[in-house]
Symmetry: C2
Subunit: 180 residues, 2 copies
DNA sequence: CATTATATATAGCGATCACTATATATTCTC
DNA sequence: GAGAATATATAGTGATCGCTATATATAATG
């Protein structure tokens, strides 16, 4: 399972074939389909596994407690620590795993988890900044999408750490800003 | 040409087949290969055409003149105007056109243009902020990557406009910040 | 041990991939 | 108008895609 998740994470949904997944799992196609139903079924499990584990940076940042500013700051810093390439895996599986996939269902699955993640971020922010929860949530998710993208393009931990610092300051500035 | 570029832009390099490109161009495979050499050859032309046109938001922002802060601010705002979906096309072809492609050469081509674009941004910033040109350039490219990604995921002009405003303020703040 | 049920492997399904060999039509030169 | 050169279309190359029908091995039950 973790092996298959790794492959999807490394190269994206389309670029990983069922044959390769079978080889990685040490099984043959019929067993693959008996176990997961379809390639999409395995991808769904991979996303679930990913979101339930330590890669769910916002969930981890939440556990640290503190106010919204602190949680969001930790979220950015966790992303900067987790996203850079490690054993060929970079960025976020949820954000980029189904990107540019030719399979509409795979894209929809990615969108579903992205929406879920955004909702969690938004709800957290709303506790302190109800009026601007949506805009601040968009700020966070867009920044994370950028971090995942450049990480997949080769950005290292230093660069992402700098960006995380910038975004943490930007978040505090925007949260405290008077509305237009 | 513009038709093929549109297809790559819409769905990414891998998700567009040669057969579909031929149909869109109104030619048959042999003529396709006589004209472009390969699918990759057409993609290269598409990237060149894209970077030479109005989609090169930084080039457009530069033409407006003014200081670095103004140019970068316009860059973000132009991205917010250009990236939202229009006729099924969203985000940036250079940033996301080859993302998750199984073809290493296509990915390399995308990386090449991304590096070129980053260099232009860096050089512009260096004129006023030589000591922190690299860090500020990373700030801009990462933000643009995030904007392209969320635009491809459905973000609208309002959302991206807000983010552009945030990033413009963040850029000015970071540019004026004392070094750590 | 015989029989039934379960799970595995072999092999191959049709479809699509990027790409091309061959043949036909067209255009240019003389 | 005849012949040579160019460009087009038809058709199909092997490879790979996700997926499965059939057959064989294993395990559970009587």
């Amino acid at each position: 399972m973790a092996t298959a998740m790794r492959l999807f994470h490394q190269r994206g949904y389309d670029a990983v074939g069922v044959a390769e997944l079978c080889a990685a799992l040490g099984i043959k196609p019929p067993s693959f389909y008996a176990a997961f139903g379809s390639k999409l079924g395995l991808f769904e499990q991979a996303l679930r596994h990913y979101a339930a584990g330590p890669a769910n940076i916002f969930a981890r940042a939440l556990e640290g407690g503190g106010g919204v500013d602190a949680v969001i700051g930790r979220t950015f810093r966790e992303a900067a620590r987790l996203y850079p390439a490690c054993d060929g895996v970079a960025g976020c599986l949820v954000i980029d795993g189904a990107r540019n996939s030719a399979d509409a269902e795979a894209r929809a699955l990615g969108a579903l988890w992205k929406a879920d993640s955004r909702r969690a971020i938004r709800d957290c922010i709303a506790a302190e900044y109800p009026a601007k929860a949506d805009r601040l949530a968009d700020l966070v998710t867009t920044a994370l999408a950028g971090m995942s993208a450049v990480a997949r393009d080769g950005a290292d931990a230093d660069m992402l750490g700098d960006f995380a610092g910038v975004m943490e300051r930007a978040f505090r500035a925007e949260a405290g800003r008077a509305d237009d």
